[in-house]
Symmetry: C5
Subunit: 358 residues, 5 copies
């Protein structure tokens, strides 16, 4: 739990703008894609000079930095793009709450990307996106191919991408990230259905832990999507000089997706809550079954034992003891008593009742 919230945080009272590079952080790789309506270039670069070079050329330039493990390089990039020291700290000291902030030379959008591993464990990664007059600059925590569909669309020449500016490219990146919530939702939806199916049969503490974990994960997902909804709303409403009016309709679509994701999350949270009440009632039902078994056994055999006890007494004057028919008669009485109890329990619906067919 802590891991998702406190991966790293600066020392209390540290100077604002302090960058906290985690010792396991990967060395940054920088990939530059530059495109005009007619051509496009895709390079791996290593130095600030190469970036500067690309920026001086025609077209939209997308600088994608993957990995945070080199403070000097990141500071150099920050200086080159005149990134405010607090903005740069937000990029490095993940996780930040998703938000958008407007600066003189660029717009910053901090997004949160989610994925699920095979054990239903949620993975969260921050992507920070700066976009200005002719560039988009993205920072990712780790190497990853999540933005490959965007690169493919740049290559393909179809659609408005190649003819549009950096705002459209930024939209495409954000849209891809938010689309990435759908498969996660799908997996959790299936997981919830599995849990629901297994629940009655298997109301164990471990099950409860799984329900609680899924609730927590749904909460984390909500914390990822809600602020993005607000941030995109700000992009649409505010008059940012970096966003064309034509692009706003695309952001509006993106905004709709955020709301839809939030709606589904809400439904899942309700479902998880229903699982909890199912779990608690399953415990109660199990107890009922155990009690019923005990009651049936005890109610049948305790009276019979009592009858046997009567004729185990040593009184001298117990005339029944001497009749030849007494023993078979008692046995029959016992059988009848047991049968009567069974019939009674059957009528109460405690035994030989099928509940779960349908």
């Amino acid at each position: 739990m802590n891991r998702l919230f406190f991966k790293k945080h600066t020392k209390v009272g540290a100077r604002p703008g302090t960058l906290v590079i985690h010792k396991d952080a990967e060395k940054p790789r920088i990939r530059i894609i530059r495109f005009t309506p007619d051509e496009h270039f895709d390079n791996q670069v290593e130095t600030i000079e190469q970036i500067r070079d690309e920026l001086s050329k025609d077209g939209v330039v997308w600088i994608d930095v993957q990995g945070m493990g080199d403070e000097a390089l990141i500071r150099a990039i920050g200086d080159h793009f005149s990134i405010h020291m607090l903005a740069l700290a937000d990029v490095v000291n993940v996780p930040q709450r998703p938000k958008t902030e407007s600066y003189d030379l660029h717009q910053l959008y901090i997004s949160r990307m989610v994925s699920v591993d095979e054990d239903h464990q949620l993975e969260v990664e921050q992507i920070s996106i700066f976009f200005g007059r002719n560039f988009v600059l993205t920072f990712q925590e780790r190497f990853g191919d999540v933005l490959d569909p965007v690169r493919k669309r740049i290559r393909s020449k179809k659609g408005p991408m190649r003819k549009s500016g950096p705002d459209y490219l930024a939209y495409a990146i954000i849209d891809t990230i938010i689309d990435g919530y759908y498969p996660v939702l799908e997996q959790y939806g299936e997981y919830l259905e599995q849990l629901e199916a297994r629940l009655v049969a298997d109301a164990t503490p471990k099950m409860l832990a799984q329900i609680n974990r899924i609730k927590r994960n749904l909460l984390i997902l909500r914390r990822g999507i809600w602020p993005q909804r607000d941030a995109i709303n700000i992009l649409i409403r505010d008059e940012s000089p970096f966003i064309e009016d034509d692009t706003k309709v695309f952001f509006r679509d993106c905004h709709d997706h955020c709301i839809q994701v939030a709606d589904v999350l809400e439904t899942f949270r309700e479902t998880a809550g229903a699982l909890l009440s199912t779990y608690l009632s399953a415990i109660g039902n199990k107890q009922n079954e155990v009690m019923r078994m005990l009651t049936i056994m005890a109610s049948i055999f305790i009276p019979l034992t009592f009858m046997a006890g009567i004729y185990g007494m040593n009184f001298e004057q117990m005339p029944e003891l001497k009749r030849w028919w007494a023993y078979p008669a008692l046995l029959s009485t016992m059988f009848l008593t047991a049968g009567g109890m069974l019939w009674y329990f059957k009528r109460l619906g405690w035994i030989w009742t099928r509940h779960d067919d349908d």
Copy 2:
């Protein structure tokens, strides 16, 4: 559950405007109704040219497309009406959240229609409505006769329909969709009453599953009606060039219906919550009954068995054993003891008590 939220969604990172045609989607059928105050025509058409033809004539034209199974045709219709590619994607990539959006040449209203099958399973379908200067264009997911009452009203010449523009026709369609929530509510209301009646007798896990399912369905209904309330409010408030002032009072009526539906849903959700607590307490009550049975049986027979045990001992010096009255005396004591216990349990209200008459 998933089915209602994820029938189909575009691939992560797909180009905006990508249409996802489900492989089972029905081939579209297009029906055109054109009417003036004096006459009306009703045709099945197949090509764009026929649509164009009708639109060039006098009167209000309603183009109703049922089924999504032909991407080319739908794109052609979209092009002809200059529908924005994102709007067209919203039409095809169902389900979208109900909303209204204003474009230069038409207003888009995305609605959600509900119905219930005999197994209380909720069916949800999206209807997308474009209306402009002289036309209404609707897209439905499947074939269906849900809008037949509107067609009938067009034919009948009574009421303001024939004298009004496309805004009134759009209102009539939306109103019919929202009216369609009432029978669904009615069915769920009856279902809730049935569940309530069966609950105490039949507090089984299956019952709980039904309560949870109904809660989920009520939630889905709310997700269908709340955004429509907002969307209709936007139609009333905003100065859309496609809505006459006279028509707004009708939309206001429609808005009232949305609120009423939402109110009833809220009450039903409370009722479903009450069912849950009834269910949990029914489990507790059952357990009490089982325990009581056990306690009564044990409390009566264990002391008696003990008494019998006493006189089953083999001490040589047990003078009682030799008295002729000893056995009958013990039997009487046993009867009295048992009777006393029964009287005590009766006084505690554990047996022979009628609770449920009134």
Copy 3:
């Protein structure tokens, strides 16, 4: 439950303005009261002409229509007062949500009246009030004397009624309706107290049903009063030509009453929620009592029975069996054991403990 929400509703897709007259609806009776500061008249009328007649005279005219069972007459009245067809439908197709709407020639206020029968069952009735330049027109679902206090105040000449216009009369009617919530609240308050007192002794499923029913009724009351609060607020805020400034202070008082009713309802809902938790804990306590009884009986007698069992064995070498003091010694041991158990249970507070005095 359904009855309160769906008494009647129009067919899906019916033309707006369709009136649904229930087959059991009572034939309307029309009563006209006309008053000037100096005189007042009170007549039963039957035709539109008589109404027109009265309206052409001096003073404020109050036309009170009780019963909805004559569509022609109601349409005629609607036509005469130029009532919008949707407004007329709202009057007839009860229940509508309370609201106010402003038209050119009159203001419409839809109110909801409540009462409780002796079985704590809530009765809800809609009163629709139109008021214009010189008239107030009210529609009630059924015959009733709930507005008699207003008529009495008209007759009595005291207070501002006779000197004021139709807006004050409308206020007096609305105020009387809202005042009618107080006795209902009082009854439910007493009912809640009764339930609370009976609860611990009588935690039966029927009790739970009563708690749930009262919660539902409180919810229905809230649905009756909250929208009226908003509607009255609109009357106060909006510049309606039909409301004098002097009358607004009276509506403000009425608004305060709405809030007060809503506050009390809120408290009652909390109380009902507390009853639920009391109910559930009472079930738990009952179970504890049952279990305790069982445990005490079993803990005392099972060891004794075991002791008796020991000396019921048929070993040849059991020297104790032959001692004359053995039987009395065993009986004493048994007494001491039982006494020790009782002392122990007493110390645990399971028996002979008074909890409920204070």
Copy 4:
């Protein structure tokens, strides 16, 4: 409960402004304090003339009316100060929701005073405060010394009181009332702590009733303080001619106190909720203890009784019965079995385990 909400209310449909004097209402006592920066006078008066007399003199006049039992006198005071009939009704027909209202000649502030008796029962009293150009007029339900600290501050000449106008005096009164919530909170805080300490040992239905009662009282307290927060906010924001700008900073302080009281109330409500869950779990724990006792007793003695039963059988061929070592051997086996069970229960942590030290 009713008592707090329905002490008295007007008949349904009564004329607005009707005063409902409760038959037990105390006869009003009127105390007039008049002060200028230099002098101050403190008199008991009986007639309107005396009040008029004081008002005609220099300085700020505070007329404090305690007790409502004289309609004629209260109406006379109302007339003299030109109090609107609805405002006067709000003063007399307690309890009203706290609020402030602005009239031409004075500002009305309706406040709610709270206190707790030794049985933790909440007492609520309404104080109505009118303040105008040179006077403050207060109405209290009963005699009481709660405003004595204010009188003392008037006498003492220290602080801004003597140099300020009626607005500051009104502030001082309101501030004293709101300060009066703190000791109440303190008492409930201590009561909650007591309840918490007693809870585990004493989870009786009476305890639950106390928790529910405290929750209800906290709710009543919140209903007393929240509307005052709003009312004071209105005093600060609105441009009342009766409040100097210099006094507003004092009202702002008063507003802060309201929020603080509300915060503490919120925390107490959470605590009371926690008590409820503690209570329910205590019931569950008690049940566990009872069950454990039963299970231990039964598990130990039932097998032993069975063993004894074996050798109580009358088969002719039971060679063990004849061995001299059989009886001691069986007794040893029984001891070992019992010991084994005890060891097993000890290992399960059911017996001889200390949980509550720390």
Copy 5:
């Protein structure tokens, strides 16, 4: 609990501005730091004159007062800085709700500092910060080194501190306080994880008390951070003459931290709620285990005891008693019966089932 809310409060009806010095309050120590871009001075002072002296010199002056135990000195400082008597009361009469207030000569920001001792007990302290043209004046309840990181940054000459005004220094102090919430969150996060791990094994009332205590502490933390979020927002939005535009971006960062802290708190509260349901279900599971043990023991041995009882009867005509094979046959039957029961319980999953592996 009380301690945190009512450490001290003024007498009801006390004059506004009354200072309540707690008898254990520490004597104030005053430390003055004055710095210009080039130099910095750090002194312990004792008198107002020394403060005046420092203020007359160049640069930014930070007067840090630790301890409240000298009313005369604090009033003297208040007079010297023209602090409003209510503001001074807010400083001394802790705890106040965090807030910011704007005065003519300075801005007041009341903050709340948190820390956790080794027993997970929350410590809360109020820091009041005044900042004006050339000074920052802070009041702390107790001595403490929590602001040492700020002093170190003043000394270090790096960063914007030395070149900025008192607004930046105030920011640095507030930021340090809010950063101080992170380690507290981290500790509670770990504590929650520990509780979760121990919960199933150890569902004791003490555990519940710990869960409730952590919930209460999380609530106190929220009460500490939420109002600060609002207060910082006011600093950003309002046009305070004491805050430079360049500094606002830093306050915006601080605002983000507040939201992040609040988010984590929310998640923790959910987690604590999940612990509660885990706790309750653990009690239920324990009960199930106890019941199961009882049921298994009783179901196996009660029938066997009955069988033994049968052949303990003294009928003369029981032919089985005389057969040599009868005893071994009965013993075998008993073994088979017991084995059958065990097999049945095994099939029910009541025994020999591993649940918790994964």
